[in-house]
């Protein structure tokens, strides 16, 4: 039986309560009659033989690219860059797709006698990965062959000697990327495309860039003009990256792009109920929900966090394509839509979303209040094509505990951003104008980024800019069950229960609003007509 597509259900009297994520916990909420719930499509069948599919993609590239084996030869300089810890979510069961792909690239390179090969984690301004995380992504064989010899490095956007300025686009955007990557005879970029935003020219132009380069598209104005940044053709974020990517290509950097998509099989069997429609829950699902929710209720947050961050997702490769960047990315985008797309008729007054424990920037870490805002208003809000799910002036209600808690190793500048910037203003434009540069150039944050496992000093700004479109669009944001002080610091309203939040929202949208619930994860993309 083929997997069922995404589905929008209208809530009526017989509809069972709907599952809402609340960080490391979840609850069942009864939504008002007439509400809509959007469910993701069921997982597509995975590729039966991923290794064969990868090999085929490398040998039969799309677009204006030669087969990979024909581009490999002795004496050449080969660099393989790959996505970092932010992808996929949750981290996948071994073997990770990066391992599967890079092993084949390395085998082909070895067959061709290439001996100058380096691997680079395309961190951009993210935190450096730990050894354990790298071993998980690459497998022990690759790690042990490259890391001890200094041939596995993590992109350092603050090392001037390791960067090269390739020029400016016709819009005056600086393009400065990793020198080793730019000066290689061939740059192979290995993506895991979890959402439509990932990949394309963004891989190199963002993943291997410096702050000098990133600031041209990671800013509030660009984000306000990316509607959404999941829709490449209406995303200024992507337009800027595409201009940069074409300049990179014109500069002679030969990028062999490999992109892969995943199916929606997000959670292991113990949490199977999380990706089923509630009215289809069987006895095992109900028991699973009861056991998990009761256990998690009694578990201190830090241990609940540990439990969830140890979850390895069973998702499997659904497609792989390789070749020239734009041609590859078009196929990838189509494949992502095939897995995640859900047709939705019309907008809603209120959009509800249950926020889970993890987003791209807190793997093995804490989803601090800024990341809560970003996950809800940056990512979930932007999971649309066409029009936002919620109408202009509407209300987003998110459920999450939003603890006033930060990981000081991973997010040191977030703490200061929360304490010193959001106390002054929550307006993204003002935030950028008044504070960005001093954080971006702060030598302490730079030190921690380069030598520890800290996100760059400017990163919390980017998270806030990610929210810029939603903040401009919405009439109000309400967080249910959040730490009140933290929620207020974000500039949002706090409610203790969903019913209270709905009453509060009526101030903005009237007494009989339409309501839509985004039943994610698993991830979906709403095609709003």
């Amino acid at each position: 039986m083929s997997p069922r597509p995404g589905f929008v259900v209208d809530v009526d009297r017989s509809t069972p309560p709907t599952l809402f994520w609340r960080g490391e916990r979840f609850t069942l909420e009864r939504l008002p009659e007439g509400s809509r719930v959007i469910y993701a499509p069921e997982p597509l069948d995975p590729l039966k033989d991923p290794a064969a599919a990868i090999r085929s993609a490398l040998i039969n590239p799309v677009g204006d690219q030669e087969p990979l084996p024909t581009q490999l030869h002795a004496g050449m300089k080969l660099t393989i860059a790959f996505d970092d810890i932010s992808l996929p979510l949750p981290p996948m069961e071994r073997p990770d797709i990066r391992q599967l792909v890079i092993e084949q690239v390395l085998d082909m390179a070895a067959d061709a006698g290439v001996d100058d090969v380096e691997l680079i984690v395309a961190l951009a301004l993210h935190r450096r990965m730990t050894e354990a995380e790298l071993r998980h992504a690459l497998g022990d064989r690759i790690y042990d062959a490259f890391a001890p010899n200094g041939l596995l490095t993590q992109h350092d956007a603050e090392d001037p000697a390791a960067l090269v300025h390739l020029g400016q686009t016709d819009q005056g955007e600086d393009v400065e990327i990793n020198r080793r990557a730019a000066e290689s005879d061939l740059l192979v970029y290995v993506n895991i495309n979890l959402v439509a935003m990932d990949g394309g020219h963004k891989s190199v132009a963002t993943g291997l860039a410096s702050y000098r380069s990133l600031r041209h598209h990671h800013n509030p104005v660009t984000m306000q003009h990316s509607r959404s940044f999941m829709d490449q053709h209406r995303s200024e974020l992507h337009s800027s990256n595409w201009r940069m990517g074409r300049l990179i290509a014109d500069s002679g950097v030969n990028v062999f792009q490999i992109e892969s998509t995943l199916n929606n099989d997000t959670f292991p069997p113990a949490f199977a109920f999380l990706q089923k429609r509630e009215w289809e829950w069987g006895v095992r699902d109900r028991l699973g929900f009861m056991t998990a929710s009761k256990t998690l209720e009694r578990t201190p947050s830090r241990y609940a966090r540990q439990i969830f961050h140890s979850v390895r997702s069973p998702h499997r490769m659904a497609s792989v394509q390789a070749g020239e960047v734009e041609a590859v990315h078009k196929l990838t985008t189509d494949n992502i839509w095939a897995q995640q797309g859900v047709a939705v008729e019309g907008q809603t007054d209120i959009l509800t979303m249950g926020l889970p424990y993890v987003g791209p920037y807190n793997v093995n870490s804490i989803l601090n209040p800024i990341l809560v805002a970003c996950l809800g208003l940056g990512y979930f809000f932007n999971l649309y094509r066409g029009k936002p799910l919620v109408r202009e002036g509407g209300v987003v209600i998110m459920t999450h505990p939003t603890p006033w808690e930060f990981n000081p190793v991973h997010h040191p500048s977030y703490i200061d951003f929360f304490e010193q910037v959001l106390t002054e203003t929550t307006d993204p434009i003002e935030v950028a104008d008044r504070f960005e540069e001093s954080f971006a150039l702060d030598p302490w944050y730079i030190h921690l980024y380069r030598t520890g496992h800290a996100y760059h000093g400017v990163h919390p700004f980017y998270m806030w800019y990610w929210c810029a479109h939603a903040l401009q669009h919405l009439g109000a944001v309400i967080i249910v069950g959040g730490d009140e002080a933290a929620v207020h610091r974000l500039g949002f309203r706090a409610a203790s229960a969903l019913s209270d939040a709905l009453e509060m929202a009526s101030d903005m949208v009237g007494p009989s609003p339409s309501l839509t619930h985004l039943h994610a994860p698993p991830i979906m993309m709403a095609d709003v007509r």
Binding site: I415, D416, E419, Q420, S438, D442, P443, W444, H447
Partner: protein, 411 residues
């Protein structure tokens, strides 16, 4: 006439110390303080006048004494029994003479500079410090014609402000209160003078980053002094660590550039100074830190956030503390105390002046009388002292005894 009298009673001090574990001031009911009938104190000489208190504040050092937390260092500098209260505004009911020799009419309001140095003690010649006007540094506080006591409010001869019987003040201690001042303004002069002295002695340069730890009365007065006496001449940045939200609001209204929770202060200073962090300390940091708390924690925090060769000024009264002085040695820090007041260096074209006179000006400029949050009759002293001990938590700053219209009576 009634006065709160503090006896040397070791079991009661012990009981007070135990009770204070529940919160500062909780020992008032079981400690050595008692409300007694007393006669007005006798002037120790003709150059002393009687002052009838109107308002008398409850200071952090009073609370430390009542809680049994005061350092034993002070044991030989007090004489029992004494009436506490050194933050006093009162009326010279028989008239008098002020510190400058000016004759004051009966009924004139005055504040007292409570230090009991060489002049009140009739010690001739005065010690070099008193001769230079720096009476706070006087070493003769246990000698001369007056019983030991480093200040009025710790001396058995002078009486203190927590009394309807009044106190006696030496001419050198008396400062006339401007007519425009409310009693609340006036009672803030003494703590403000402590802050003025601390700030003016700190050698703050233009553009300096200054941190203030604590935002009780002393901390807030320090912020006001920084804003009005330093910032206008040498603009810099003043950052305050304050536990309670009303304290943060007050600090900002008094001129702080930023007021944050105590645990956030070091991070805020780090950002402002562009510092790195090494061994839990800032590699650069604030030029000057005013510690207006005086605890082990606040001193350690001060040493961790001040820059190399920077200055930590201890404004709050410390007791026995335990801190690691390795950073003081390694980073060539200056750790300096700031006690009471005296004579301050000239500001621009002005002549050197007594700290109290500067404080009177600052109270007026900054409106510090508004920091008086609550007043109590002395009969409700237990309640008053508990309130003062929990002022921050209860949204208050300065708590005082209200002795107005109480001469000779009891209520």
């Amino acid at each position: 006439m009634k006065a709160l009298v503090l006896e040397r009673n070791l079991p009661r001090f012990a009981a007070s110390r135990v009770a204070s574990l529940l919160g500062s001031g909780r020992g008032a009911g079981v400690g050595p303080l008692e409300l007694l009938d007393v006669a007005p104190p006798e002037p120790p000489g003709e150059d002393w006048d009687h002052l009838q208190p109107l308002l008398s504040g409850i200071c952090g050092s009073d609370l430390a004494t009542l809680d049994g937390r005061s350092s034993r260092y002070f044991e030989d500098m007090v004489s029992f029994p004494f009436v506490p209260g050194h933050e006093v505004v009162g009326v010279l009911d028989g008239g008098g003479v002020d510190h400058s020799g000016q004759v004051l009419e009966p009924g004139t309001r005055a504040v007292i500079e409570p230090v009991l140095g060489c002049a009140p003690r009739h010690i001739r010649p005065p010690c070099p410090y008193c001769a230079g006007g720096h009476t706070g540094l006087c070493g003769n506080v246990a000698f001369g014609d007056v019983a030991p006591g480093l200040q009025t409010g710790y001396c058995s001869d002078t009486g203190g402000g927590w009394s309807t019987a009044g106190l006696v003040a030496h001419h050198s201690q008396v400062h006339r209160v401007p007519d425009s001042f409310s009693d609340e303004d006036a009672v803030m002069v003494e703590p403000t003078a402590c802050a003025v002295h601390a700030v003016l002695a700190a050698d703050i340069e233009a553009g300096a980053v200054v941190a203030v730890i604590g935002a009780g009365t002393l901390g807030l007065a320090t912020v006001a002094a920084l804003h009005h006496l330093v910032q206008y001449a040498s603009p810099g940045t003043v950052m305050v660590g304050a536990k309670h939200s009303h304290q943060r609001q007050l600090a900002e209204s008094l001129g702080a550039d930023a007021a944050v929770a105590p645990e956030q202060l070091a991070r805020a200073v780090r950002r402002r100074s562009g510092s790195l962090v090494l061994a839990g300390r800032l590699t650069d940091g604030a030029d000057v830190v005013f510690d207006c708390v005086g605890s082990s924690d606040s001193l350690a925090a001060s040493l961790a956030m001040v820059r190399p060769r920077g200055r930590v000024v201890v404004v709050g009264m410390p007791g026995r503390v335990s801190i690691d002085l390795a950073p003081l040695w390694h980073r060539e820090l200056t750790l300096v105390g700031s006690y009471t007041y005296g004579v301050e260096p000239p500001l621009e074209s002005s002549l050197p002046g007594r700290t109290f006179e500067r404080a009177i000006g600052l109270v007026a400029d900054a409106g510090l009388g508004s920091l008086v949050s609550a007043t109590y009759p002395i009969e409700r002293y237990e309640e008053a002292i508990v309130h003062a001990g929990s002022a921050g938590r209860r949204g208050a700053v300065k708590v005082a005894f209200d002795l107005r219209n109480r001469k000779g009576g009891s209520r």
